[in-house]
């Protein structure tokens, strides 16, 4: 499993900048990650760290301007998607790589029925008969656990609840059996109970269909059950990466340690919940050196000026904190 052959999606040193009025917002600033076949990879980080931007870039959905892809590659099965023209990119979207978005309430088109939208997802990539189109749509809606799928086809999005809409979004994403599904905080906008259901659904679908899933979230807690590997993102860069057990039991970056300490079920009963002081820096005003240093309780003098390189702990476990690395040996 560790050879490079079954790598489906590989983002290499991706840089995505936004040209704001006077400033340059370096939203994604040299991010690399990989998704292998049949694997669930989680991209975790606080709000504003560039998760959505890096995901949208893989599908060529960054508006340019104000956005600019300033460097890097997005390799899908070895082909750089950033080199593709509009027509070729369209054949990738939804067909090979599909995406589920953060906001189920606004992500479906209000003037078309659920049936129209699910069927469209099939039609844009495949030529199928009307009856087959209908059968497949119903099957998809059933697969994502929507009750009475036959009747849902004629419903408009506003007639569904948030959780149901997200299921429809997932059905659309699965419509053409894509190899990679990117789920961008699919549960953030939902009630807690519904969140668990949707998360479980992703787990099931991934296992049944042997999907490669890139699951994006700001909540390290929710990924414990589904993640094979985890990337921790901070201020436009990956600060730590490794297998799920390693990240959870042997975190090697102060930021990851802070995220873990702030999980409710990890804190000792009665103890006050830990939280990392401060907030993610605005990508237009990032501190120099280690971008985490203003919030880091281990920071030393050099952290303010030296950009931290990746330190290798073996087995694919890497972390961008030389201070901890040196301290350990």
């Amino acid at each position: 499993m560790d050879n490079g052959k079954d790598i489906l999606l590989s983002v290499q040193d991706l840089k995505v900048y936004f040209h704001l009025n006077q400033r340059l917002a370096q939203a994604v600033d040299g991010v690399s990650y990989e998704v292998r076949k049949g694997e669930t990879v989680c991209l975790v980080g606080e709000s504003g760290c560039g998760k959505t931007v890096s995901a949208l870039t893989t599908l060529g959905l960054i508006p340019q301007p104000p956005g600019e892809i300033a460097g890097g590659q997005v390799l899908f099965k070895g082909q750089n998607l950033l080199d593709l023209g509009d027509d070729e990119m369209q054949k990738i979207r939804g067909n090979h790589i599909a995406m589920v978005f953060q906001e189920p309430m606004t992500s479906l088109n209000p003037v078309f029925t659920v049936g129209d939208q699910v069927q469209e997802a099939i039609m844009v990539h495949e030529k199928v008969s009307k009856t087959e189109l209908r059968q497949r749509s119903v099957q998809l809606l059933e697969d994502v656990g929507l009750p009475a799928p036959e009747e849902r086809l004629a419903d408009y999005p506003h007639q569904l609840s948030g959780g149901q809409r997200q299921r429809v979004m997932i059905a659309m994403a699965l419509a053409c059996n894509p190899e990679v599904v990117i789920a961008d905080e699919p549960t953030t906008a939902l009630d807690v109970t519904i969140q668990a259901q949707i998360l479980n659904l992703f787990g099931e679908l991934q296992r049944e269909r042997d999907l490669s899933l890139l699951y994006i979230t700001h909540d390290l807690g929710v990924v414990a059950n589904i993640a094979d590997r985890i990337y921790i993102m901070y201020a436009g860069i990956i600060v730590e990466q490794g297998s799920a057990p390693e990240i959870f039991h042997d975190p090697r970056h102060p930021y990851t340690q802070g995220l873990l300490a702030s999980l409710p079920n990890r804190a000792k009963r009665g103890a006050r919940l830990h939280s990392i002081p401060g907030t993610v820096p605005d990508p237009a005003y990032k501190p120099g050196g280690c971008p985490f240093h203003p919030r880091c309780n281990l920071a030393i003098e050099t952290c303010q000026s030296r950009f931290p390189e990746m330190c290798d702990y073996g087995n694919g476990h890497q972390s961008r904190c030389p201070v901890l690395y040196d301290g350990n040996g």
């Binding site: 599908l59 959905l61 509009d86 369209q90 054949k91 990738i92 979207r93 939804g94 067909n95 599909a98 995406m99 978005f101 906001e103 606004t106 992500s107 479906l108 088109n109 209000p110 003037v111 078309f112 029925t113 469209e120 997802a121 844009v124 990539h125 408009y156 506003h158 007639q159 979004m169 659309m172 419509a175």
Partner: protein, 336 residues
């Protein structure tokens, strides 16, 4: 509007809702019309100035004649009696103008037929130009096309209509040597039909274009902003992420949503049928509704003013009714 965006499944069938909406709407609008009739009647009768026939300062009429007119027009009766007289006559179609004793409905109908071509051609020009321009501007926002469209919109909005009219008239008359004032060229009556036809077209075109310019400038801006707003919505991004071709993203997913508010406007052009522009009709000596209404106001010809007013009110209410109904048809979220 009393519309709400529903978040739950509607319990009743949509057809029933539509029928009950129509019923309620007609009753509401009739009541509104009744109050409008009272208020407009009061405003016109209480406004300063007297009908020219009973104006004591008018040297044409002796006090005896004035007295006779007052009696004949029921001006000596209390207002509520006058009100009943007026609307009784209106509803039975017997209202006559005080100025020339002609049937008001007949007069209006004649002027209406004159104004209708202007209205139709103007509206067609406005709507067929504004939409493509606005949509294109939005899709290529910030580009050369968009910047030019923006420049011309503001130019057209800021040039006064009469000024623009004279430039147009001078241009057309000197370049094409065709007369453009009035409904048709004076004394052209016995010419061959192709010439008659072209003459009508020329006379119609200029005032229509002029009437449309302001509308095009404003409507195309509105279409652009509506389209821009929709283009930024999440569901447009979803469509792209599905692999929908760019054309369809714009013209199917975005446009369908951007058009919703214009459906409302479509009903609201109905009152324009009776409006007509006083300025344009005056410049082009066009014997239309606008000028008739304006002259009636100057002469305090109450029956004409009130009838025009009443018909406008009916058209406004009918227009909003049509809008609501259209909205109901095109926006699945509307629950009544």
């Amino acid at each position: 509007m009393r519309f709400v965006h529903s978040t739950t499944r509607p319990s009743r069938k949509r057809e029933d809702t539509v029928l009950s909406f129509i019923g309620r709407s007609v009753i509401q609008k009739t009541i509104t019309l009744f109050f409008v009739s009272i208020v407009s009647f009061l405003i016109i009768h209480l406004a300063p100035g007297e009908p020219s026939q009973v104006d004591p300062l008018n040297p044409k009429f002796t006090p005896e004649m004035v007295e006779r007119f007052r009696k004949e027009f029921h001006l000596d009766e209390p207002l509520h009696i006058q009100y009943t007289y007026f609307y009784r006559d209106l509803l039975t179609g017997k209202t006559v103008s005080w100025k020339d004793n002609q049937s008001v409905l007949g007069k209006i109908w004649e002027r209406f037929l004159n104004s209708l071509p202007l209205f139709i051609v103007g509206t067609i020009i406005t709507w067929t130009l504004s939409f493509p321009v606005g949509i294109r501007s939005a899709i290529f926002r910030g580009g050369l096309y968009d910047r030019n469209a923006t420049f011309f919109s503001y130019l057209l909005i800021s040039i006064p209509g009469f000024f623009f009219a004279y430039i147009l008239i001078i241009f057309v008359v000197t370049q094409f040597h065709v007369p453009v004032i009035g409904l048709k060229t004076f004394g052209i009556g016995d010419a061959a039909w192709p010439r008659l036809f072209m003459d009508r077209v020329w006379h119609l075109l200029l005032p229509s274009i002029l009437g449309a310019t302001g509308g095009i400038a404003i409507l195309s801006r509105y279409v652009r902003s509506q389209m821009l707003e929709v283009e930024g919505q999440d569901y447009v991004r979803t469509a792209r992420a599905k692999g929908v071709p760019e054309e369809q993203v714009h013209y199917k997913h975005a446009l369908r949503n951007a058009l919703l508010p214009f459906v409302t406007m479509f009903g609201l052009i109905l009152p324009g049928l009776i409006g007509g522009s006083v300025i344009i009709e005056s410049i082009f000596s066009w014997p239309g509704m606008g000028r008739m209404a304006f002259e009636a106001i100057l002469a305090r010809d109450y029956p004409v003013i009130l009838t025009v007013n009443f018909i406008s009110a009916v058209l406004v209410l009918a227009g909003t009714f049509v809008s609501d109904l259209l909205y109901l048809v095109v926006d699945p979220r509307i629950r009544l």
